[in-house]
Structures are given as C-alpha cells and as structure tokens.
Amino acid sequence: MTTNVVETEQNYLNVSYGVRSWLLTTDHKRIALLYMASITLMFFVGGFMAVLMRLELVTPPGDLVTSATYNKLFTMHGIIMVFFFLIPSIPAVLGNFLLPMMIGAKDLAFPRLNLLSWYVYIVGSVFTFWIVIAGGVDTGWTFYTPFSTSSSNTHVIPMTLGIFTVGFSSILTGLNFIVTTHKMRAPGLTWFRLPLFVWAIYATSIIQVLATPVLAISLVLLAVERAFHVGIFDPKLGGDPLLFQHFFWFYSHPAVYIMILPGMGVVSELIPHLARKKIFGYNFVCFATLGIAFFGFLVWGHHMFVAGESVYAAMTFSILSYLVAVPSAIKVFNWTATLYKGSVSFATPMLYALGFIGLFTIGGLTGLFLAALGIDVHVHDTYFVIAHFHYIMVGGMVMAYFGGIHYWWPKMTGRLYPEGWAKLAALIVFVGFNLTFFPQFILGYMGMPRRYHAYAPEFQVLNVMSSAGASILAVGYLLPLVYLLWSLRYGREAGANPWGVKGLEWQTPSPPPPENFAVTPVVTEEPYNYPSAAPGVPSTLQEAEVV
C-alpha cells in the first residue's frame, strides 16, 4: 500500500482499505462516516413518505392512497425521522467525529462500544425496513394505548422492539460521550475552555442516558400487553392509558432536546468562528444548555392538556414549559449579539446558521402558544402543532446539521465543497421549508386536523402551497447529496484549516491522521479567542512534549 513514489501523509481514510477495515473499525472518525451513510439513507426513506403524503394532500378528497395507507405513511415517517434520523443525526455523526478532536483526544473512551452502538443502530434499522416491507404500523409514532395494544392490526410489536433496540444505540453513544468529556480532555482544557458544541453534546448525552430507558421499558410493557392480552395500560383490563402517555412523553419531550441541543451546539460554533468574534456570554450559553436539559425533564405533561390530566397538573406543566423558553431565548440573544460588529462571512454554513436562528425563533415562539392552556385546547391535534415542531426539528435541527456538515466537510474529507452550488441549495432549502410549513400554521389555526388524508375544500389553496414547498425542499435536500459526493473526487484539496479559524480540530491535517494529533495538544486559552478587531488567525495549539 505504501509503495507510492510520492509519499502521501497517512490519514484515517487511507490508513487501510477494504470493506473489512470499515466494518471492523474502532476509529471514531470512520464510525461517524458509517453513521452518516446510514442516517442519510433513513432520511431519504422518511422523506419519500413525506412526499407521498404531500402528494395526497394536493387535493381535498383522499384519492391517491387509502386512509389506512396514509396512517401508515405518517407513522413510519415519524418513527424513521425521529428515532433513526434526528436523534442520531448530529450526535452520532458530527459528535462522533468532532468530540475527540475538539478535546484533543485520540478517540472516544470506549471505541469498541462506539462500533457496537452503530451495529445496534443497524439492527434496529433492518427491523424497520422489514416492517415497512411487511406492511408498516398505523399507530402514529406515539403508540398511544389502547389503540396500539388492542385495536391496531399492524406490526406494532416488531416496531416497538426495533425502537427498543435503537434506543440502546442512543444510550451507549451518550454514555461514551459523557465519559469521554469527563476523562479524555487534553491538558489545559478546563470545562470552561470547552467549545460550546462539546457542552451541547454533553447535555444531550445526559438526556439520552436518563430518558431513553424509560421509553425502552414502556415499549416492552406495551409489547407484552399486546402479545399476551394482559392489562397494564388497557382500561378494559384495569390499566391506565394515561400512564402510557406519561411514560412516553417523559422520554419524548426530553427527546425534543436531544433533537435541538446539538443543533444549537453547531450554531454556537459556526457563528463565532465565521464572524471571527468571541461568543457573547460564553457562560450564559453553557448554563442555558444545561438549563434546557434540566427543565426539559419537567415539562412532559404539556402533551396531555386535553388527555385527561388534572387541571392543576396542566397549569404546572404549562408554567414550566414557559420557563424552558428563557434559556432558549438567552441563546438566541447571545448569537445575535455575537454577530453584531463581527466580520461576518456569508459562507454556506453561516447561511444555514442564520436560517436556524430565524426558524428556531418562529418554532420556539409558536411553542409558547402551545404551552398556553387555552390556546392549546383550540389548536391541539391540528396542523399548527405539525408546523411548530417541524420549525424546530427541520428548520432547526436539520438546518444545523446541514450547516455543520458543510462547515466540517473539508475536515472530514480533505476536500472543499462547491460554494456556489452550496449557497444555492441553502437558499432553496430555506425558501422550500418556509413555503411548506408556514401555510400549515394558518391551516392549523383555521382548524384543519392532523393525520387525515382528506380535508375540507376551503383548505386546498394552503395545502397546495405546502405541497409545492415540499417539492422545492426535496430539490434542496437532493442537491447537497449530489455535489458533496461530487466533491469527494473533484473538490479542491482543503488543507488543514480552510476557514482560517481557531478550534483544536482545525490544528491537524485534513483528513486527520488516525490518532487525530501527532502530539497531544496543550490548551492555554478559552475558545473563540479572536482578537477584537480584525480577522487575524493565530493558532490555539502549543505542542506538548511527549505523550
């Protein structure tokens, strides 16, 4: 392998070749790429289901698919996008790749566990594919009982087992990241010198470790109830269906933060680096991150305002939900203040970051509408809710994911992506996204319920707008797939630090060597320590003696 006349530097991509070297790798960077390939596949499978739904909704009557098929489409779309794309997206791809590099480590604390968690993810995904082929599930991604345990005649049990399995992938990743952050930091890298992305991944990992087991055991109970016709949630058999909803949302509300905190982490990197400015209020962003993770555990009841929980519980959950808005708003203000008087580069990642701030703000503010008891009764189970959480998850998390992928693409692959095409795609995504989901706020407010394949004719104009937007959005998502793959072969060589930024991950060649750093770095300053005036880029790296 090393017989080339020109000696090429060894990096994690060329250190070994062949399928085996990938499938048995314990290198966090390779595992990140394995995850990236798998979740990309899941993203397009889930997206395809969304396309079918939007096609159905172009006309008021249910003419393209039957209502039963439509139920399965939105269920599988939700399950795939939530459990198989959004939850692993930024943590398992960017987190895996960057966490050890950002803290100056050679790898995660448990590299084999890391590979295992990818295999566990694959087992869960294969399960899911099998279920899709076998006919799908129609319970909604929420699996509400008693429908899921006694009425639905679709493949509920295998699907719960699939999610149970993939949950362990999430738990193992979180565990690995927490230990790595605690124990593997380079000399001099104190907690308050950590990049904000690391803080975000750390807080996310805590949620993954603490919330996921509750979902896992609830799904097991659900599967047992369904399989053996015994009662734990079924009211006919003495069970309490509301208990299932409590369990489900005890995981699934914090899971919303698994799906947004890493996005906030990415944006907290993109903005100071690409504005060449110290982040405004570093400590505030840190504590806001931890605050969101903490309060996120106390608000699950806001999903059950109309499900029969007591009015006092509802009022408490409503107030607590408002509290989460405070740390979220702190972050938005800090990002904005960081941009102020910075020398802002409008490269593609920054476009995504700016899009994130705007869309996340809309999504967050409409979340306050839903946290208000009175308004929630009116808009519950309507398209208003759909629009709200897509603004957070797609407008927020997916935008941040794309921004992060573009920003770190040169580091991951050693190649530059084509900037012109990338900017065009970012613009298309932004326009397509808003055209798809903004009309849904209005539809929901007018009273169009979610989860139906037919609707009243007066809703048609807005639905056609939404479907048109979805087709634009699809183009925006397909473009990066094409030009990023293209850049692997034809992109310009990136060099170690094409953005000219600080941050440990840029102080090593691209693609990085297998052990990340030739010499363990010593950190002597806080992150984003740009001089207050100009775009000068001194190094944060001082070389230590020996390992």
């Binding site: 604390a109 565990l175 124990k183 087991p213 003495g238 208990l243």
Partner: protein, 215 residues
C-alpha cells in the same frame, strides 16, 4: 506488571485514566438502569395508589417466606462479591476465586427459588398472559398486581442472569491470573453491577411481598 501494561488501550494516557473512565462508564450505565427500573416503580406506585386494598390482598398470595430466603441469599452473594473485590485489590487469589464462585452459586440459587415461586403462581392461575383466573374477585386489579410482579421481578431476574454470566467470565479470567492489584477493573465493575442488582431486589421485596404482612 506485564498484564497491566498489556491491558492499556491506545486511546488512554495511562492505566489510571483508563480505570477512571471505565468506572465512570459503569456508574453512568447504572444511572440508565435506575431509570429503567424507575419506570416500573412508578407504575407500581400509580396502581398501588389506585387499588390499595386489592394490592394488599394480592400481595398475600406471594410466598413471603421464599422471598425472605431469597433476600438473604442475595445479600450473601453480595458479600461474596465484596470479598472478591477485596481479594483482587490485595492480591488474595483464594479470596478472589472463592468470592466470585460464592456469588455465582448464590445467584443461581436465587434464580432457582424464583423459578419455584413462578411455578406456584402458574399452578394457582396467577400468571397473567399464560394462566390467570379472571373469575376471582377483583380480577382486574389483581391481574395488574401480578403483571407488575412478573414485570419487576422478571426484569430483575434478567439482570441477575446477565450478572451471573458476567461473573462467570470474570471467574474464568481470574483463574487464568488476568488480574493483579494493579489491574482488576473488571472485578470492580462487575461488583458494582452485582450490588446494584442486589439493591433493586432489596426494594422489590418489601414493595411486593410485605404490603399487608403486619396484619
């Protein structure tokens, strides 16, 4: 110590860092486990609050004597585990091997006694899903009680089975002299896990068996 040097993995600076990482990893894993059981304990609390009398009556159908014996068996097995860890730390090979073997034997004994109890419940038609007498008074609430009983003790038994398998591996390696006072992290970590499973039972026993015992 050559075994110790061989055990150092590439991503760590030294054995100390590796040991700390492994230990923290186990503690975090136990946090996950705590929340897993936490959901079951929550369900128990909810239904005991909903059906207080029925739960008390159903609890009387459990064999508190066997439960008490099992509690003693499990506590003694934890003693064995503690002995093993002490032996590993101090280089006491006999103590290490004996402690591990004791834990395995008593853990298995626990499973056997548990199996006897399960069989009795099956015979008495108190096994929801397989054989349950829905004609008995308060059948629904009793069914919920027994569902929770089997879910909680069943998940516990699965954990104990994994624990026994784990300790068997550790025993085998200890036999092959893989551990020394410098390197015995696996012994310590399986000890942590074992004690955790033990503690869960310490809570399960009174909650399930002793609800109504004072009358």
């Amino acid at each position: 110590m050559s075994e110790a040097v061989a055990a150092l993995e590439g991503q760590f600076r030294d054995l100390e860092q590796q040991r700390e990482a492994a230990s923290l990893g186990m503690w975090i894993f136990l946090m996950t486990e705590l929340l897993l059981f936490g959901a079951l304990f929550t369900a128990y609390a909810v239904y005991r609050f909903t059906y207080p009398q029925e739960f008390a009556a159903a609890s009387r159908d459990l064999e508190a004597g066997l439960g008490a014996i099992n509690t003693a068996v499990l506590i003694c097995s934890s003693l064995g585990m503690a002995l093993a860890v002490y032996g590993a730390q101090t280089g006491g090979r006999k103590r290490l091997l004996f402690g591990l073997a004791l834990a395995i034997v008593l853990g298995t004994a626990f499973m056997v006694i548990k199996g006897v109890e399960y069989y009795h419940h099956f015979e008495h038609a108190e096994f929801p899903g397989l054989r349950f007498d829905y004609a008995r008074p308060h059948a629904q609430a009793t069914q919920v009680f027994f569902f929770l009983y089997f879910a909680m003790t069943g998940v516990h038994a699965i954990h104990l089975t994994i624990g026994i398998a784990l300790v068997c591996v550790v025993l085998f390696k200890a036999w092959r002299r893989a551990y020394s006072p410098d390197y015995h992290t696996p012994v310590e970590l399986s000890g942590l896990y074992w004690h955790f499973v033990d503690i869960v039972w310490i809570f399960l026993f009174p909650l399930l068996y002793l609800i109504d015992i004072h009358k």
